[in-house]
Amino acid sequence: MISDQLVEFLHGPSFLHLGTRDADLRPAHTAAVGAVAHDDRRTVTVFVPAARAGRALEHLRQNGRVALGAGQMSHEAYQFKGTFLSSRPTDEADIARQEAFRLRFLDSLRQGYPEEIARPLSLGFAYRPGVAITFRVEEIFRQTPGPGAGEKLA
């Protein structure tokens, strides 16, 4: 379901935004730092700081519905929608992945921002301790601004 191109895109570096909602359909946003598309091409793990994970996890345990937006400096953007599967604390391998992500994110932001914005913006997202949230991807949408925005890709 998740193509090679989308795997590469999801691995970033991208702005990552997790969307969830409560039992009353009130939506909530959680910023994420890093994501992994697994070899089955159907599941994704996204990393959120533990201090910010409580609300999202409460929502996900209640209803399972999740949306992950990924966007890059080029304005290319995609959204992955699906169902929550599991969560766990991030481990050393996850943190190493996140630290590599942060440095690549900094490099990407330097293409569009001066250093005084690129550095604090990219490196300023809290990431450890973190929570790894895994979900099954059921739909993928193009969100790049333009005529194809909203197109369902899978």
Partner: protein, 144 residues
């Protein structure tokens, strides 16, 4: 009520994209990056209705939305809980947003693609500074 503090205004200048999460009536959340959240008054913001049609459809089914913002000056981030009130296609808010959308489009090479269709006005329900989402500037400077 004057919920929006003065210190949030730099986060509404369109320097760093914001994000909006909405929810369809069937319970499916949707997240969309937006170029700018506009300060209307201390209790209202406006979101540009350009081409993010799922967001537009969702808030007409279920008016609640969550908006994430970040300041390019302090790098504080904020969560707003908002509720869709109305859509404007003329008037001072629309005209101001139209000019700013044009300016942002020129700056980022999206002229002709970013096009304002309407100014969607939202009432602010709550404002939260996300102190636990950000690493302090001092820690970043220390090389963390």
């Amino acid at each position: 009520m004057a919920l929006l503090p003065e210190e949030i205004k730099p986060a509404m200048q369109g320097v760093i994209p914001s994000d909006v999460v909405t929810c369809a009536r069937d319970g499916t959340p949707n997240t969309t990056a937006i170029s700018q959240v506009y300060y209307v008054d201390a209790d209202h913001v406006a979101l540009s209705h350009q081409f993010f049609n799922k967001t537009v459809r969702n808030v007409r089914e279920n008016p609640r939305a969550a908006v994430w913002l970040i300041s390019p000056k302090t790098f504080d981030s904020w969560d707003l809980e908002v509720e869709f009130e109305r859509s404007e296609t003329s008037g001072p808010v629309f005209e101001t947003m139209d000019m700013q959308v044009e300016a942002i489009a020129s700056m980022v090479g999206m002229k002709g693609i970013f096009k304002l269709r309407a100014a969607d006005i939202y009432r602010v329900i709550s404002v939260t500074k996300n102190v636990d989402e950000r690493i302090s500037l001092g820690e970043i400077a220390d090389g963390r």
